[in-house]
Structure formats: C-alpha cells, structure tokens
C-alpha cells in the first residue's frame, strides 16, 4: 500500500495536471457506479412496491445461482437483455440525432451530481454557484426528449416531445422560483452552505419555513421527470409511448436510465435543500449523542430513499392529469404561490424572524 502511495506521490509531482485529472476521473467513477446500481435496483423496487400496492407479487423468478432470491436478479437480466437487443433505426429517421438523443437525456442527469455534497466537505466540486449549475443542468435534460421526438420522424414521437417540452419548460419556472426561496433563506448558492444554514434541529430544516416551496419543488420535480401523474409525454393510451416509440435496445435503455437517474437526483436535491441534507434528525434533542456515530451520509441516503419511495407511491395512487390541468396547475397555481412566498421569505430574512432567520 505504501509503495503505491509513494509511486502516486512521485507521479503527481512530475505530472500535476494529469494526476489531478486521474483523481477527478476516479472520483467520478466512485459516484457513478453506486448510482447506476441504484438506478437498476430502483426499477426493481418500483415493480415490487407497486406490485404489493396492487396486491400482486411483482418480479420473483430471476435470482442468483439457482435460487429465486426474491427476484433480485431481475434488473441484471433486464440490463443484459437490452444490451444484446438490436438497435433498430427507422429509415426516415435522422440517424445522427436519433443516436445522440438518448445520450443527451442521460448526460445532464449524471453531470448534475458533480456539485452534490454527500457529507460535510464531500463533494466532487464544491463551487460557489452550485445551485445555479444544478438549475442549468436540469434544464438541459429536455433536449434529449425533444431531439428524440423530432429525429424519430413519427407523429406520435413528435407529439410526445412537444407535450414534454411544454411541460418541462412550464414547471422549470416554478421549480426555479422554489429554489430562489431556498437561496434567499440560506443566503448562499453553495449547496454545502445551504445544508449548514439548516442546522439546529428537525424544525430548523427548510421544509417548515418554506413549506409551500417544498411541496411545489417536489411536485414540479415529478412533473419535470415526466413521471405519473404527469406522464402525458408517454401517454400509452393516446400516443403509444410518446417520444421513445421508435427506440429499442440500448438506446431505449439510456432513456430509461436517464429518467430514473433524474428521479434519484430530484429526490436527493429535495432531501438536501428542504430536509437538511446530511444533518441528523436528532440534532438538538436529548437523543443526539446516541446517534452521533451515524455518518451524515447515511441520513442523506435515508431521506433520499423516502422521496424516491414517494415517486413510486404517486405512480400507484394517482390517475394521469389531463393536459390542460397540468398547464393550469403549473402556471396559474404554482408560480403565483412561489412568487408570494419568496416575498414572505424575503421579509422574514430582512426582519430576522426568530427560530429560522435570526
């Protein structure tokens, strides 16, 4: 081990730029691998949880080494199946854009994790404008959907893409305003500072002073990821499968990965900005010393899993919205509420409202 460290030290002295690059790449791999595994098992969790909610069993056949193991092998089987399937490109499709679209849908969902702080001081890039960067990355994700819809050269795909583009752009405004509330309350764009500003106790977390913004952020997050009950972009009953009708094999899988990575991202961001991130829920209570040994990362993951579960729960519970109702909710309900609440938060910060902003 020492020999490797020594080798590394001499290497980083000789080639400082290259050494930094390798270190960053290693960190990216450390973040990406668990994320990809989580995406794979999120699909399994979705089928299993919704299955039990609908009094079914869900996948329970594919296991490991001849055992069923509750169907835990299912995501791997799905992944292998999709990898070895042929990628069919329609004759009239725009070939280059058709292939680029799934990458554009997956890329921003992964790039957004660059500024995410997993624990005190544990972020790939702890930048000043972290919140802005996140907003920019989530807004770029829509290109995958639009380009896929256009490049497929199919009516259904184009309709799905149009619906999705309009929906994502509308809800992005409400989402951005909700984050402006967080930014005003925390007084910083740095994500670690936003978490630190929430420390105190469970009641200091921003879900309470920013309750309307918290709800609007999460609901807009569901709409942004095109998930039920806002999944009109897919709308199986009217436009078959929306923007990805013509996709097959790995290109289809990339859309799938992007969607689930986005869901995990929205859950993690909600946990970070409204639920105190890596802060312990027992902070400021007599129980705090008993849970001091739990690393902050575990709390963050637990909170993220809670919101990820909500995504599945929504899908099993709510019927799909009608399109005009989606637009009405976004423009006429959410945006006015966020604007009013930004004013309230601004006044609370200026007059140093006790408990949260004093």
């Amino acid at each position: 081990m020492d020999a490797i460290l020594n080798l590394w030290n001499s290497f980083s002295q000789d080639w400082p730029t290259l050494a930094t690059l390798i270190l960053i790449l290693l960190k990216i791999v450390v973040i990406m691998l668990p994320l990809m595994v989580l995406v794979a098992y999120y699909t399994y969790a979705e089928r299993k949880i919704i299955g039990y909610m609908q009094v079914r069993i869900g996948p329970n056949r594919v296991g490991f080494f001849g055992r069923h193991a509750f169907g835990l092998g299912q995501p791997l089987a799905d992944a292998f199946k999709l990898m070895f399937k042929e990628i069919v490109i329609p004759t009239k499709a725009n070939r280059v854009l058709f292939v680029i679209a799934p990458m554009l849908s997956l890329g921003p969902a992964l790039a957004a994790w660059a500024v995410f702080p997993f624990n005190e001081g544990m972020a790939l890039a702890d930048i000043n404008a972290g919140l802005l960067y996140l907003l920019a990355m989530t807004s770029v994700g829509v290109y995958g959907v639009i380009i896929a819809g256009w490049a497929s050269n199919s009516k259904y795909a184009l309709l799905g893409a149009m619906r999705s583009a309009a929906q994502i752009v509308s809800y992005e405004i409400a989402m951005g305003f909700a984050l402006v509330g967080v930014l005003v309350a925390a007084g910083s764009l740095n994500l670690s500072d936003i978490v630190r500003a929430q420390s105190g106790s469970l009641l200091h977390w921003y879900w309470l002073p920013l309750l309307p913004l918290f709800l609007i952020y999460f609901i807009s997050g569901v709409a942004e990821t095109n998930r039920a009950p806002f999944d009109v972009a897919e709308g199986e009953s009217e436009i078959v499968a929306g923007f990805h009708v013509d996709y097959s094999g790995m290109t289809f899988a990339a859309f799938f990965l992007g969607e689930y990575a986005n869901m995990i991202l929205v859950s993690a961001l909600t946990a970070l900005m409204f639920m105190g991130g890596w802060l312990s829920p027992f902070q400021g209570t007599p129980l705090e010393p008993f849970f001091a040994w739990v690393p902050g990362f575990v709390w963050l993951v637990a909170k993220t899993f809670f919101f990820m579960y909500l995504f599945l729960w929504f899908r099993a519970t709510f019927p799909r919205y009608r399109y005009d109702q989606i637009m009405r909710l976004g423009w006429k309900v959410f945006i006015p509420i966020t604007i009013v609440w930004i004013l309230v938060v601004g006044l609370a910060v200026v007059y140093q409202l006790p408990w949260w902003f004093d």
Partner: protein, 200 residues
C-alpha cells in the same frame, strides 16, 4: 502551450465551427442545435475567464429556455427546403454586400488599432478571498444600477403582456372546460331524482 491556452483554443475552434454551421446548414433544426452547441462553447470560454455566473446563466437561460422554445416552434413548422433555396442567386448580391459591410465594421471595432494586449491589460486571476461573482454582480445590479435594471424588467413584462394580448382572441364558438365550474359542481346540479310509478 499552457493547459488553459489549450482548452481555450479547443473550445474557441469549436465555437467558430458551430457558429458557422448555424448559417451553413440547410435544415433549420440542425442550425438551432448548432446554436445550442455554440452557446455551450462560449459558456466554457466565460468559465475560463472566471465569470462563472455569466457562463452558467447563459446555459440556463439561452440553452435551457430560449432555445427549447425556438426548437419547439421550428419543429412544428413544415419547412419547404426547396422554397428556401429558390431565391438564393437572386439575393446573393445584396447578401454579399451586407456581409462585406459588417465585416468592415467588425474589423474597425476589433481591429489591431483598438484591440490587443497593449490596449487592454491581461485579466488577472481572481483573488482567493474576493467576493464571488454572483454576489459582486448582484450588489452592483441592485445598488448602482437598480433603476435601469428595474425599468428593463418592467419593459420585459410589458412585452410579455403585449404578446399574450395580441394572440388572445375571444371565439364564442370554441368549447372549452371551465375548470373552476367543474370543481364547484355539486350533486344537486347534475342528478335529479324523480318519483314515478313502477311500470308494468
């Protein structure tokens, strides 16, 4: 060549390439996508100047919102490519003249007489304890330039209202749902129970 210089030349070359593709490509959707790519590359160049707020805002506003709506409109148009090409030769003379005029103007503005390291000092890297970009811009905007900033915002708002006002027209024959009416509806409005004798 230093590392930063290398990055600058790579992205500057990509920027020039994609910007020229915007005007060369026949298909307007391709042009719009190359414009998006050009925005990304100029964001990288701004990032090299340590103007991270401007760089990210460029991606957020132009790539994330403006160009999405642009593409939205372009994709719905049924564009006749042959019709676009038809007038090319006829208008080429005028076009070339305008291009030449713009080239001369550009050369006069950014020519060696007004541009170069001897005219502008090389930007020095930001001090480690300096105010972050976002805060510095915010402070200037909301103190020194607060009136121009607010007036610009109001003009934009008026523009939005005017655009909506222009497209808004009442069409009495159009049938749409009145959602608040739908929500407010009670059982008594829709169901009427009638007493009647059983039929034989």
């Amino acid at each position: 060549m230093s590392y930063e210089k290398f990055i600058f030349y790579v992205f500057a070359a990509l920027l020039v390439f994609s910007a020229s593709m915007v005007i060369v490509r026949r298909n307007p959707v391709h042009s719009a996508l190359f414009l998006v790519f050009a925005f990304f590359n100029s964001a990288v160049l701004w990032m090299l100047l340590e103007a991270e707020f401007l760089a990210i805002t460029l991606v957020l506003v132009y790539v994330g919102a403006v160009m999405v709506l642009f593409l939205f409109v372009i994709m719905m148009l049924d564009i006749e490519l042959a019709a676009i090409r038809a007038g090319f030769v006829r208008y080429m003379g005028v076009g070339a003249l305008i291009a030449l005029a713009m080239l001369v103007e550009l050369a006069m503005v950014v020519g060696p007489a007004r541009f170069g390291l001897d005219k502008f000092a090389k930007p020095s890297p930001m001090a480690a304890n300096a105010l972050p970009n976002t805060e510095a811009i915010g402070e200037q905007l909301y103190t020194v330039y607060v009136y121009p900033f607010e007036i610009a915002a109001v003009i934009l708002l008026v523009g939005i209202v005017a655009a909506i006002g222009l497209t808004l027209r009442r069409r009495p024959e159009k049938k749409t749902q009145n959602i608040s009416e739908q929500v407010r509806v009670k059982r008594a409005d829709r169901v009427r129970l009638v007493k009647m004798d059983a039929e034989h």
